[in-house]
């Protein structure tokens, strides 16, 4: 019997290695797997590259992971937030590397990784600093730059519902990067608000089929406004 539901945070985080590329879901606090980030803090892996839309708020979650010196590089589109103090301090001190990526390119790089597409051409960033050093090509009269797929060793995902096969649904704008992160990561770890019996999620409503998911932890934490 396939059962991707795990019973403890330690089981969820087992095997994450130092130097991993971690893809982290969420847009601000919405759809962000906060419990899994805390689990990663506890688990201890270091020298991580974290790809995420934002770069942490205050001193909790991703900001805490950075503050502990466990993140060597951030790949994100928008490192500013209501309270970016940890990131800004590390960045100014030269203690963290930043790769800034347009938001759509970030999402597409993850989808490409999940789809077996190693790189793709896009018009986004042409004629800007983002294009420096990248291959340019004219296709049907327009100039494009080549962007590389972004593969995760580990993906941290927040879902609304999950079943033991790892099928997932999401809540409203909590979907954001989570489905492409599930696709792009070698080891996809999910915290889910609800766990359903196999067959209880309508197949028409499943957004992420279980093939993209490795482990699911039931975390009925409530709404994201407390973060």
């Amino acid at each position: 019997m396939i059962n991707k539901i795990v019973q403890s945070m330690a089981d969820t985080m087992a095997g994450i290695k130092d130097g991993s590329v971690v893809l982290l879901g969420g847009f601000g606090a919405v759809g962000q797997p906060n419990a899994l980030i805390d689990g990663l803090i506890e688990q201890g892996a270091t020298n991580l590259t974290v790809a995420c839309n934002n770069a942490g708020v205050g001193h909790t979650g991703l900001a805490r992971l950075m503050e502990l010196g466990r993140v060597s590089k951030i790949v994100c589109s928008f490192p500013r937030s209501s309270d970016p103090v940890v990131f800004e301090t590390l960045y100014r001190a030269g203690k963290i590397e930043l790769e800034i990526v347009p938001q759509g390119t970030l999402a597409e790089r993850m989808r490409a990784a999940g789809a077996g597409v190693p790189a793709f051409f896009t018009a986004t960033g042409v004629g800007t600093k983002m294009a420096v050093g990248k291959e340019h090509r004219e296709i049907d009269g327009r100039i494009y730059i080549l962007e590389q797929a972004l593969k995760g060793d580990v993906g941290l995902v927040e879902a609304w519902e999950a079943d033991r096969w790892g099928n997932l649904t999401y809540k409203q704008a909590g979907r954001n990067f989570n489905p492409v992160i599930a696709m792009a990561s070698a080891l996809t770890l999910v915290q889910s608000q609800h766990v359903r019996e196999l067959g209880d999620i309508d197949p028409d409503h499943i957004v992420t089929p279980g093939i993209f998911v490795d482990r699911v932890l039931h975390v009925p934490y409530g709404d994201p406004s407390g973060f």
Binding site: V30, Q103, A107, T128, A173
Partner: protein
Amino acid sequence: MSATALADFKPFSRAQMAQRAAADIPEGWYVNLGIGIPTMISDYVPMDREVIFHSENGVLGMGPAPAKDKIEPWLINAGKQYVTMRAGGSFCHHADSFSMIRGGHLDLCVLGAFQVADNGDIANWATSENDTAPAVGGAMDLAAGAKRLWVLMEHTTKDGQSKLVTKCSYPLTAPGAVKRVYTNLATLDVTDRGFVVLSMAPGLSFDDLQARTEAKLHLPA
């Protein structure tokens, strides 16, 4: 600067700027509004004129802000403010949401900007080469991908520098992308000739406007 005293004309307020842009959006368009003043545009599109607002975090068919007791904690816009969903709205993931942008499906995007050049170049994400942590978000995707890009911004900086320029001094968001600019002083199209003035704040003359603008202005042909 022009001899015209400030008292001689009345600049458009931010609400009026948003109102003017809203009046130019026809029914049926799919529209993305940038963070800041552009977000106000949706307040001035009447509900019976069906314009579908897109937010890049995977929300299509966004409605106005909710009453305090009707907040859905998972329903936010790109500015991370609570919003509502109109009947007919839908959610999608980030790659699909940006496919709407990058695939040329949006009829219009309206952004704020630091500078717009008379060839349509836009600079709106960083004010210097050595900015502390640069943050681009979805601006480059929107500028390069939407069918048309309008800019809503003040005509000058707080210290009176023109934001309509012959060449952007700040890092570009996209080259040659802007089609129209709404400022607190005027509405201008970006054409092959450069900036063409469509309308001006009441009491402002073309010469007064030119005196406050670094780029050369043109009257409609």
